[in-house]
Symmetry: C2
Subunit: 208 residues, 2 copies
DNA sequence: AACTTTTTTGCAGTCACTGCAAGTTTGCAG
DNA sequence: CTGCAAACTTGCAGTGACTGCAAAAAAGTT
């Protein structure tokens, strides 16, 4: 019995993982990240504490819902773009696609996460720290796309810029959600694209 | 007895802090970061474990030697530049000045840190996560310098880029120390300055 | 020397996280 | 359905980072 789709096992695993992620986010938003113990999260998700750590390497990871497939998926996206597209554009589009897809799948979770991140912005940074290896793979994809050696600065820097753009965007989004997260990320990446040497002008809001 | 310079107390505090930092780096380089306990570090520095935590909020911080005065100092540097210098340049110069000064003061420590960071690159990222508030202050200085509101994206992004540049530079430095750390940071910041939209060309090394 | 302020320390406790050795569930035959 | 192996879950015992608190020890002041 191995339907190409999913076995019972796989389905259960997915559900458990989702339940743990959801429980972590929900409880953290409710009473604050460090007033929630892993024990409580596990209880909420109806599994043992030990099982929690079978799914996530840390409480941090569970809050962000680090998707182990996200890295490879992004790499695929980047490499799938035709050669006429610059590496920067390919990367930009891939980041955007990933974000909008993620937001479509779990917008409610991200709204709750926002609450948590507003009070603990450092959690986002820490979450990215854990995915350092994943970033490495991404950087290699960019390097390949740009016909640069993997040791070159550019790919790593581009990926790091992406993280930074995402982090800044989320932080701003958390403070003022009148803008779409995707637009904020786009804005940040555009700044990186055109270069930070140009100081943007400040337009006083006056006209209607 | 309060010489303008330093009281006995201040001197002792500096020495203890330095001893703890040094012990953390030395032992971590010797046997690996997570094979060293805070207890051992404290013993090496001849203080109690509790005192360790009076000086550093975490083991991570002690390894990097997070200097609480670094943030304000950088802000000062940035604001001290004449108005004819662009914010980007002011920031770039400040980062560079800070790094070279730090390296002059404690080059040996950084050589040891390099060993540790080679095996655990995530520690650098995590260290930056803790200084999120410090980054905020820096961003505000940049905002002031650029005549932008503190809510603007640019300052935050510039500071984030600085962190990223530093991190990438250190990582590369750790793998190949034939280059000066300062030069690597400069290279990275230059890329950010001119914009990531331009893909750099790969020059095959062939001619002498 | 008496007194105040700072710094150090020990202690008890919480909690994230880990390895290990059962248990339990699922998948797959026979 | 029965037996078997692989995958998953669980409990348990242990390590180690980190915290609050209150007492001891300096250091600075009069």
């Amino acid at each position: 019995m191995n339907q190409p789709g999913e076995s019972l096992r796989d389905r259960k695993k997915r559900r458990t993982r989702a339940a743990l992620e959801r429980a972590t986010v929900r409880l953290s938003a409710e009473r604050g990240y460090d007033h929630v113990t892993v024990e409580e999260i596990a209880a909420e998700a109806d599994v043992s504490v030990r099982t929690f750590f079978n799914y996530f390497a840390s409480k941090d990871e569970a809050l962000i819902g680090a998707d182990p497939e996200a890295g490879p998926r992004m790499a695929e996206r980047i490499l799938a773009f035709p050669g006429t597209v610059t590496p920067f554009e390919a990367y930009r589009q891939s980041v955007l696609a990933e974000i909008t897809e993620e937001l479509d799948n779990a917008r409610d979770l991200w709204l709750l996460r926002k609450e948590v991140l507003m009070q603990r912005p450092d959690l986002l940074v820490r979450a990215f720290a854990n995915s350092a290896e994943s970033e490495q793979a991404l950087a290699n994809a960019v390097a390949h796309r740009a016909a640069l050696p993997e040791s070159h600065l550019y790919p790593r820097l581009l990926v790091a810029a992406g993280s930074a753009a995402f982090r800044c965007a989320v932080t701003r989004w958390a403070h003022d959600d009148s803008l779409a997260l995707g637009d904020l990320v786009t804005e940040a990446l555009d700044l990186f694209g055109t270069g930070l040497a140009h100081t943007p002008q400040h337009h006083h809001e006056g006209g209607s």
